[in-house]
Symmetry: D2
Subunit: 133 residues, 4 copies
């Protein structure tokens, strides 16, 4: 399955498929799932993980809105997509900073996913801004 191929088959895409945005969509999708799972795993830990649960939950919600909005190609909504990507970068970095403080395997994996998602959203945002300029 490739969400990128799916997006490229939208009738409005044609030759103008945006690769960096497609990659950001895929990683925001994964990151939504990984953060949702990390919030659950953190609530199953013996130690106090309140802050991590909260930031993972927020990051999951924001990544989900990001992948849904950024994968649409009917008409266009670029100004919103750019700001959505900017918010997603901050949510991912905030979550990664917290997860990196903990030695749980799920937190390490979640932090890595958040960093990757933030990097790809940044690349996609910069390309959208370059196009708009």
């Amino acid at each position: 399955m490739s969400i990128e191929k799916m997006i490229s088959e939208h009738p409005a895409v044609g030759d103008g498929y945006n690769e960096s945005l497609g990659l950001a969509v895929r990683h925001a999708l994964y990151c939504a799932a990984v953060c949702n799972s990390c919030a659950d795993a953190c609530s199953g830990e013996v130690m106090e993980m309140q802050r991590c649960i909260r930031l993972c939950s927020d990051c999951s919600d924001i990544c989900e809105a990001t992948y849904r909005v950024a994968s649409r190609r009917t008409d266009e909504n670029r100004a919103i997509i750019r700001e959505m990507l900017a918010l997603c970068i901050k949510a991912c970095e905030t979550c990664a900073e917290e997860c990196e403080k903990h030695d749980h395997a799920h937190c390490r994996r979640c932090a890595q996913m958040c960093r990757e998602c933030a990097r790809d959203c940044k690349a996609a945002m910069e390309e959208l801004q370059a196009e708009a300029a």
Copy 2:
């Protein structure tokens, strides 16, 4: 049912319940539902409503992330909430502008809800910024 009362009963809230943020949460919740319904109603219209479907869908997704993130009170995540509110305002205004072009009763109602949500998110954002200053 009052989501605002619910939030005020969070163990961390105490005397510090933020009324403007509670109102923004309630209206983002309603707006998520109204925009989801308007996207569906638009796809049932005979005339071409592509752009309206797209903007309503995006606005619904963003309102949903907004109400979920902004209703949490464990620890805190204020910088993210402020930017989420800023994005929600833009998504609501973009959707309202489009819906206001159409004479369908559902579009008029959706535009009104989006304007109300944008106004409440703005008030909440300004109060959060004043507190941070």
Copy 3:
């Protein structure tokens, strides 16, 4: 704002607006938000609330899918809506049973909301089944 009025303005609804389904949509919407807030409030409590966080999170996700699917009126998808309502009833009852064990104000409010949502989904489901018979 009334999500029920919004649904009644869908071009396919005409005289056939389903009141019991509209009420179920409204309460599933509220219940999604209340359960999301209760999961957050539970994670902020000093005592162990793992099971309550899990069941509130599940119930919130299911209520959200329920209100979104059940509020659409384009074409129809009744068999899915009936099963979605049936699942929502179980998720709400499971969550209410757990929340009723705790003396927190947010848990009492959440349990009450879940019971109300389950009751309205049941009425809507029965009406849909009667129509199908």
Copy 4:
């Protein structure tokens, strides 16, 4: 990234990781994204795609609730997961049947994803039922 590895690192999982449920989670996640993208692509087509938009939207919402609920491992909520999987199977099959009627590349891809998701949810549901017996 692997959502399955993420789930296997939950503190409660230990040796009891459920492979078929992990696969169902992964494909429900992909299917939520593919159906959301297909609904958008369908609304961009010249021909009438109302029913397809509706069924893809419903399927996306249900797949999303499915992957979120089925990926949690804190405490347990097996009866709900089983019924969620059962609903997801029906939503995917209903969506696939409609998408298979259309010759768009995105509809063919969406139908294939829905069939795959339905098959994996079925395997996961049967394993959960065998364990419960």
